[in-house]
Structure formats: structure tokens, C-alpha cells
Amino acid sequence: LAISPQHLLDQATKLTEAEAHTGRPRGADLRRAISAAYYAVFHAIACAAADSVVATNKRASEEYARVYRSIDHRALRKLCERVRGKNLDFGNDIREFAAALADLHEKRHSADYDPLFKAIRSDTILTIQAARSAISKFEDTAERAHFLSLLLFPPRRAE
């Protein structure tokens, strides 16, 4: 796996550690930690999506990369909103995963772009914890294939 979710989570955790000379982390590090936590989940999904279409022994191929890169942040967020709504029948694991992904998506956007973002260490630590648990939920649920099929092949709208 080229982009390891576990390594991104490890990186995020390191970024929450206090600097020796100030006794606390930098705001810029907490921003990057939030972003890395979101991307850990994103890459876990992108990898699972590509693995579901292209054989895992072809991970170095262009077709694998094409499926991997087809995962769109906004489409993923929208699917999570649909999972949270009443029209899709998913169990608690995917619903909790979707709740976390939507929250992480907003936090990542704020951490990356918002000059008014408040860098809080407690929030960053718990955001990383949430990302870690979200990946576990996603990897363990039997409904993963259903979720990925909706992400990769959205149902046609009536014309």
C-alpha cells in the first residue's frame, strides 16, 4: 500500500506532542495532524475501493491507480450524508463511520484553510482517535462492499 493510513495516524499523533522548549505543540502541527487524520481515513477508503475492482496483486498498475484516484472528497462526503439519512439502510458500524468521516471532512477543511481555526490539543487527540476507530469500523463491517459500490458506481438518476 503506497499511502499507509497507519503511518498517517502515527504521524498525526507525533504532531500532537509538545515541543521541548515551549512545553506545547505548535498550532501548525495540530492543523497538520487533523489533516493527516482525515487523509488516513480517505486513503483507507480509496485503497479498499481500488482493491474491490482491481486484483490486489496489480496494485502497481495504472488501472489500480485510476480507480484509487477516482475517489472524490465531495462525493464521499455526500455519500456519508446519505448513509446518515433515512433512504439508505445501513447498520450502526457504517453509520458511525459515516458520522466520523463527515466530521473529519469539515475539520480537515477548517484546519487547512480557515485562518480562524482554533488549534486545541484535546480536540486533535480525539480527532485522531476517531479516525483510528472509523478505519477499524470500516475494515470490519460486512457492509463495506455495499458502501464502496455506492461510492464507485452511484445509482443513475431518473432522466
Partner: protein
């Protein structure tokens, strides 16, 4: 659209049930990454509790706050943040 007092009450009830260490809740209106109206809900934790909260409990908190607000007719997405009581943001 729920009143702030109702939003705070719902979030506080969820936080008390899912986290052992919730000291309070504060909510404000905001705009999400899509430009839509949203909520920012800050769950204030008791000092020293952050390290003991597990990821599954955070997930349950996010899930339940979103669900309860939705059930009460709130359409704005709640962005949930945590802070320890008395904790100040750190600068860049």
C-alpha cells in the same frame, strides 16, 4: 432550526451518556465547507480526561449528536469539537 438552548441540551445529554468526562457544551452557528449553514458544538471535557477517552466513544458521540439533532428536525450539520476545561488554543 432548533434554538441554541435545545441544541446545547441535546449535545450535553449525548456527551454525558457517551463520555464520562463531559463538563459542558457550547454551540454556535457557522458555515460548513460547502458554504451551507452549520453548527459548531464544543464539548468541554474535565481536565485530565482526554487520554482516557477511546475512539469508539468519540464515534458514538458524533453519531448520536448528529442523529438526535436530525430527529429533532435540525438540518444544519453539527461539527463537533472537544476541549479541556481551561485549555487555550495554541498559536502557529
Amino acid at each position: 432550526m432548533l434554538k441554541k438552548s435545545d441544541i446545547d441540551r441535546i449535545a450535553q445529554a449525548v456527551a454525558r451518556a457517551t463520555l464520562d468526562s463531559s463538563a459542558g457544551v457550547e454551540s454556535t452557528s457557522t458555515i460548513d465547507s460547502q458554504g451551507d449553514p452549520a453548527l459548531k458544538i464544543t464539548i468541554v471535557l474535565t481536565p485530565g480526561s482526554t487520554e482516557s477517552i477511546q475512539g469508539k466513544d468519540v464515534l458514538k458521540t458524533l453519531d448520536q449528536v448528529q442523529q438526535r439533532l436530525q430527529e429533532e428536525g435540525e438540518e444544519r450539520f453539527p461539527i463537533i469539537e472537544f476541549e479541556t476545561k481551561g485549555e487555550a488554543p495554541v498559536g502557529d
